[in-house]
Amino acid sequence: MIPSSHTGSMHNATGSRTGSTRPLGSSAAGALEVVSAPPLLTIQDDGRPTGRSMGIPRSGAMDPVALHATNALVGNPSGTAALEWAGGGGRLRVRRPMLIAIGGAHAEMTLGGNPAPWGVMLRARPGDLLDISAPTWGRWLYIAISGGIAVPEVLGARATYLPARLGGFEGRTLVRGDLLPAGLTNTQLPDTRSAFDLREAMTDVLARQHVHVMEAPATSSLPSECWTQLVARPLTVLPESDRMGTRLSMLSDSNRAAAPAPDDSARPSEPACIGLVQLTSNGQPLVIMPDGPTLGGYPAVACLRAGDVPVLAQRTPGERVRFIAR
């Protein structure tokens, strides 16, 4: 269970110290109930700003554009903890009056029996059921609630890091019966973008078929064909892609032969970053995502521009994406 020091108190999940706050319900401990969960339902925020020196990845939302937009729609500071939903459909029960916004991936959604539009602020009443289908466009869907999900901070964030069971709700994926605490609502408006602009930003991430890449530390030591091929034609997102990494279709046979086999005794691992495109020994590009390793053992052939990581994250397996050098 969540440590008792946090469940009973009205814990402010937004981390904001300015602006007046007021509780929406009489108790925030069980604001939202998981009636049925998709295969991967976790609490995510902007992730841990530090921790790489201890081997802790940043974690946080796969699509921070959608996290920030959905939070803004309900009046939360942009990095507030929200639900990240993937892999299927499910149902939540609202137990306190709250504002809800759903963004990122699209899905069929109803709230209290009525169609719930994507990318708008919804008013939910106690007892309302929120039904969400498997995502129909994009891969990662976000549900922000007013006040945020008020689980305790662990090492500077509420983001869930499943491999080490850090943060989130007991460090795990949410399952049927879980009761999620809400934080205090925040009356300040931290994000002044209009709802229209927020939807535009999220739609751009879903619709874009290309990402921009820059050179990485190993680019110059790899055969030039590696770089040329990477940017020459679209790559296919493979099904093994997850919160740790996005795997892309292999480069051609000739290039695979040219790529040096990584040998961990000869070539030391180097610190990695989110968006780093590593070339595995079979010629398959593997892009490090928010839960990915802090050290890279494979040669880094390229790196995604920081703002383009969400574009790759939202591509579903089988979709194609083009790398553009810039």
């Binding site: 700003p49 530090t50 921790g51 790489r52 020196s53 201890m54 081997g55 802790i56 662990v154 090492l155 491999p163 080490a164 850090l166 820059m214 050179e215 990485a216 530390p217 961990d264 005794s265 000869a266 070539r267 030391p268 691992s269 180097e270 610190p271 990695a272 970053c273 989110i274 968006g275 780093l276 390793p293 802090t294 050290l295 790196c303 995604l304 521009r305 920081a306």
Partner: protein, 221 residues
């Protein structure tokens, strides 16, 4: 003695900078890495959130892309300057002594593969002071080296799906302790009760990159 290569300073994506001091795993290169970390920490560059050493390189992570060029310039200057930290090195490095019960599942097969007795494997593993070259794989997992040459074996052909927490293992020129139960392909030679990672501690990871580690053989069932 090999002349150290000129440091290479490169962008690591938009929000990080990599300083490469070499391309080999050895204590000489790593002592330069340790010195550079000390120099960079002392310099306290604006916008830098975290400094992360690993083997022969150091990465600096920023909160956004706006400071990258300034950090690259500063890192290039500091990495090229003669180190004043070197003399303080020996006294300021933390050394951890890890008690180990040498009864790992692979201890006998390691001894056989190395053509040594079990007690000689234990003696050689526990008679060195190792550098913590880097942390990674999982939180708190420190890559320690370098291992006595007579103990160097390739990884197991089939990784185990579950390696118990606290397992002390070897592979290649390195040794490590598994902080959690995870999959793993290293050879298990012992176990320790020491907690390598605990998120509720002020310093969650027991071993930091740059620290030194010794193993102490203990008896008992």
């Amino acid at each position: 003695m090999q002349v150290p290569a000129e440091p290479q300073v490169m962008a690591l994506g938009d929000e990080a900078v990599l300083v490469r001091l070499g391309t080999s795993v050895d204590s000489t290169t790593f002592s330069r890495v340790r010195d550079l970390v000390h120099t960079l920490e002392t310099a306290s560059l604006p916008g830098v959130l975290e400094i992360v050493p690993a083997y022969a390189s150091v990465a600096l992570y920023m909160s956004d892309a706006s400071t990258r060029q300034a950090v690259m310039d500063a890192a290039r200057f500091l990495a090229g300057a003669p180190s004043e930290a070197a003399t303080a090195d020996a006294t300021s490095v933390t050394t951890h002594v890890i008690p180990v019960r040498y009864d790992g599942a692979d201890l006998e097969s390691v001894a056989e593969a190395c053509d040594l007795t079990v007690s000689e494997v234990v003696r050689r593993h526990s008679s060195r002071t190792y550098d913590a070259f880097a942390l990674g794989f999982v939180p708190g997992f420190a890559y320690l080296g370098v291992l006595d040459e007579s103990l160097r074996l390739p990884r197991r052909p089939q990784p185990r799906t579950r390696v118990p927490a606290g397992s002390v293992a070897i592979a290649g020129a390195q040794t490590a302790i598994y902080p959690f139960e995870t999959p793993g392909g290293w050879h298990l030679i012992g176990r320790t009760a020491v907690s390598l990672f605990d998120a509720s501690r002020a310093r969650p990871a027991l071993i930091a990159a740059g620290d030194r580690v010794r193993f102490m053989s203990i008896d008992g069932a």
